[in-house]
């Protein structure tokens, strides 16, 4: 992990894998002799998040970022590997009584603010649910007071608590989701594409709000997004995922100035250029491979301009570079990938 500070990790993810069985039904397998099929949604992913910091996972659809989020909050059990929150291995908590205090400290914000709020509940009820669930406050009047506080926290008025979710716009609903997540006084929030359903001016409001809340409550974020510009704005450290594997982990600054992995570079180059500098190269061809039958060797090799025999054969493992990034690429390891700027704008002859 880049630049070790004295901050201890809030979350430590070690070699986590999550597989899904997507085999045809038993009878088909028996009659047609079809084999079992395993989808490796997340494979061999390790990272750590320090307290009060934001770690981002980026990647295109189907790369396993949302699965990772669900594994972290315990909605999925990892197939192998361990998730440790504040030094406690989540898998060691067998009973509800043991797990509950830890679960209170981590909450999740979902992508779709239309689907993640119960349409039949009033907003105050939605926000009060974690308070009741974790028995944080018992008196109804006190709960109401706390709900009003939370609404004020996310920039809404106490009167809004009486309304139903359908009376609000997408941005307001996402504020309600955030208020609900904050209700249990968590230290760690997993945000799965919290702004991708929102318009850009509303996205700015929510991102600003999330940063303010992070400062106020010293929150730690696992921030998942496909939008590199948003990630750059929010994150301290970034992990780039491709087909279920982390291909590069680096500090936000390093990743955007010196990306190592060819896939990271491709992502950066494909962002529409608002500055209109006109230095764009042609977009890379190819699409994400089928994760059920990933390519041999490095999963990215069919789309990679630097791939050689070794890339087609061996799966690369993450190795640290000199400026502290972790990169899983044979080319970077062997030093045959040129500097980023050289690639972007070829020097005139």
């Amino acid at each position: 992990m880049p630049e070790l500070t004295d901050k201890s990790p809030a979350l430590q993810v070690t070699k986590v894998a999550r597989y899904f069985d997507v085999s045809p039904p038993f009878l088909n397998r028996l009659l047609e002799g079809a084999p079992r099929q395993i989808l490796k949604a997340v494979d061999d992913v390790s990272f750590a998040i320090k307290k009060g910091e934001t770690f981002s996972l980026v990647g295109e659809s189907g790369c396993g970022k949302s699965t990772m989020a669900r594994v972290v909050v315990g909605l999925y059990k990892p197939t192998s590997g361990a998730v440790a929150f504040d030094g406690v291995d989540m898998a060691s908590l067998r009973t509800q009584a043991e797990a509950l205090p830890l679960k209170r400290r981590m909450q999740m914000i979902f992508q779709d603010p239309f689907a993640s709020l119960n349409p039949r509940w009033r907003v105050s009820n939605i926000i009060a649910e974690p308070i009741r669930n974790f028995h944080m406050i018992e008196q109804p009047a006190d709960i109401q007071k706390r709900v009003d506080e939370l609404l004020a926290c996310v920039g809404m008025s106490a009167r809004d608590g009486k309304k139903f979710p359908h009376e609000f716009s997408g941005g307001q609903r996402q504020r309600i989701s955030i208020a609900r997540a904050l209700a249990s006084q968590p230290e760690f929030l997993v945000c799965d594409e919290p702004t991708s359903a929102l318009d850009v001016s509303v996205q700015a409001q929510i991102l600003n709000l999330m940063k303010d809340l992070q400062d106020e409550f010293n929150l730690t974020y696992l921030f998942i997004s496909h939008d590199l510009a948003v990630v750059r704005h929010m994150a301290n450290n970034i992990g780039v995922m491709y087909l279920g594997r982390l291909v590069e982990v680096a500090a936000a600054r390093t990743l955007f100035t010196r990306p190592y992995h060819p896939y990271t570079r491709m992502l950066l180059e494909s962002i529409p250029d608002l500055e209109m500098t006109g230095t764009k190269t042609a977009p890379l061809a190819g699409e994400i491979a089928n994760p059920i039958h990933p390519p041999s060797g490095c999963y990215f090799h069919p789309r990679c301009g630097f791939a050689n025999e070794r890339c087609r054969r061996d799966l690369p493992i993450s190795k640290p570079t000199k400026d502290g990034a972790l990169v899983a690429c044979h080319g970077v390891e062997e030093g045959r990938i040129p500097e980023f700027r050289e690639v972007k704008t070829p020097a005139p002859a």
Partner: protein, 342 residues
Amino acid sequence: MPPPSKHMVEPDGRLASPLLEVRNLRVEFPTRRGTLVAVDGVSFAIMPGEILGVVGESGAGKSMTGNAIIGLLEPPGRIAEGSIWLDGERIDNLPYEKIRRIRGKRIGAVFQDPLTSLNPLYTVGRQLTETICTHSDMHHSQARKRAIELLAEVGIPAPDRRIDQYPHHFSGGMRQRVVIALALCANPELIIADEPTTALDVSIQAQIIALMKRLCHDHNTAVMLVTHDMGVIAETCDRVAVMYAGRIVEIGPVRQVIKSAKHPYTHGLMGSIPGFGKDVRRLTQIDGSMPGLTDTPSGCAFHPRCPQAMDKCRKVRPDLVPVEQSQIACWLFDEAKEMANA
């Protein structure tokens, strides 16, 4: 009735008439609770071969404008006022059969979700050849050959094999390529692309944008690109119209609008995009959200969110006035002009 069109002077001194001209368009939805106005007094022109971006947040009326042009407004939505001219011919009041002839032949369409724009029960080839046969007098076998050429042109590998596959055999990006091929079938003069890359991943989005730019350049097709993504606009368009609450608030050359946005809304919109050139702790935010159709504010619709709103903004609605190379609907600029004149 000939259109009283304003001719524009091309760089070489020739007069060029616009390919598409939308004049004072108003789209209404009569409902039991009153009439909702989705598009209100929108005027713009697209020159042949030009790419015009229409940008705005959800509910700004950008898709409605596109649908009105190709005659795809869903009832009870209707064009209440204004006119639409395609190459000097009025097309907004045509009978169904006539507009159907124009749609697909002279104006192509690409929609957001490539899966819903393709019929899942027909092979890609059948959909392409059907469209080609409808709009030309080509023989079926010729049409099939043309379809394979089109698929190759939009960058689908092994088109002679892929042509007999169904839409579900294609990935999202490949489906969008098929939809673009469909739009190009009859060599239209104008393509209306409604959020063509919104459902796609960034790397695929870059491919599709590059493809559309290349094809439109090769065929000299004009494009009206409707999107919410300023980045896509910056990459593709020649000019851009920014819409807010059913009206155009700023229209001008893309570089000018993006680099030096004049209207407070465009300015706020640009500031709220997290970018790579800027390292800011907080993004500029426009408080509040776009008003719903039922409660459009009086005067300038943006005034409740505008940091520079004046008394006049609350009462009187501003019209587009020329400022440098752009046109802007904002009293700030009208005032400034009046003062300069006085």
